[in-house]
């Protein structure tokens, strides 16, 4: 068998579509109304946490960020390249950086209710904002690393992300519709999970589906892929917290 590193063709810009567009009307209706979207339960908890004083510094997120208004469009440009730390940082890592360095509070566990709630609340302030290409110095290298990972075959099924999400989007895989694989709705409520979940959870889900070995939770690979996915989704609108089947 030929095991190639050849890049599949990227989806032309004018054909890039959010996963929302290929969902059933009932699932779209859930996302369209906050009263129907179960993610609202997390957003409300996130708002309470945003205003709560935490840690030895005795400060709330709101104390420093002057309400939530400055969070507008922030999720549309995460992950960002943190030059001081010389690493790409995604939204949940940024929240934990603020907890640790600014609030003097212990970081929240990955995929915990409170971290997802805060992330949902922050990301919701960017609903409807357009994802812009990331032009920060240092970002390019991370995006290219992500692009490479996306196009590499891996796992017992010897598949690449691109084979499903670039080459076969719009077709079905068992009962599921293969979306283009855009990151514009995270964190989101997935009906199959019966819960809100992060981008990391989604990526681990696809990796398991490929029967590939998972990287450790805090591995740089996930953030590089996220960086690439955001550059690939430039022009799409943020939907966080979205609903997906």
């Amino acid at each position: 068998m030929w095991i190639g590193g050849a890049l599949a063709d990227e989806i032309p810009r004018d054909q890039r579509r959010s996963g929302y567009e290929t969902m059933r009307p009932e699932t779209r209706a859930m996302q369209d109304s906050d009263a129907d979207n179960p993610a609202t339960l997390w957003v409300l908890d996130g708002e309470a946490l945003w205003n709560k004083r935490e840690g030895a510094a005795g400060k709330s997120c709101a104390d420093c960020h002057a309400g939530a208004a400055p969070m507008k469009a922030v999720a549309a440009r995460f992950p960002r390249f943190d030059a001081a730390r010389a690493t790409p940082v995604d939204l949940e890592q940024q929240i934990n950086i603020c907890r640790r360095d600014r609030q003097n509070a212990p970081p929240l566990a990955a995929e915990s209710h409170d971290l997802l709630a805060l992330e949902a609340f922050v990301a919701k302030q960017s609903r409807g904002d357009t994802i812009e290409p990331n032009r920060e110095p240092g970002a390019k290298e991370s995006i290219e690393a992500g692009r490479k990972l996306f196009n590499e075959r891996r796992g017992q099924l010897n598949l690449s992300c691109a084979q499903c999400h670039d080459d076969n989007w719009g077709k079905s895989l068992g009962g599921a519709n293969i979306p283009q694989g855009h990151p514009n709705g995270y964190p989101l409520y997935r009906l199959e999970w019966q819960s809100l979940g992060s981008m990391g959870r989604r990526l681990r889900n696809c990796l398991s589906g490929m029967r590939a070995e998972l990287w450790p939770r805090d591995a740089r690979e996930y953030v590089d892929i996220e960086m690439y996915l955001m550059s690939r989704a430039a022009g799409l609108k943020m939907e966080s917290p979205a609903v997906r089947p």
Binding site: A35, D36, P38, T40, L41, L44, L191, Q194, S195
Partner: protein, 106 residues
Amino acid sequence: MTRALVNVPARAKKGDIIEIKTLISHPMESGYRVGYGGEPLKRDIIQTFSCDYDGAKIFLAQFSPAVAANPFVSFHTVATASGKLVFRWEGDNGFEAEETAEIVVE
């Protein structure tokens, strides 16, 4: 933290058919699953959900272990009088939650 969301139109005309939507955070653990260590997970579900309006019970639902987490229920009723709607959820392990909403009927 239990959160419940209820959505009732603030105003309606007498005789109008109105839609009511409710959503509550709850794991709805079926009692048929095991945890990561193979230990059985105890059943923890909401058993009943009800709505009282204008002094009468207008809606009652009994949930089963097959209902998904964070149950969403929507139903219709006829706007009869201004007043309070009281929503109650009760379940395993003494679970109780209540929410109210006001409607003006003219």
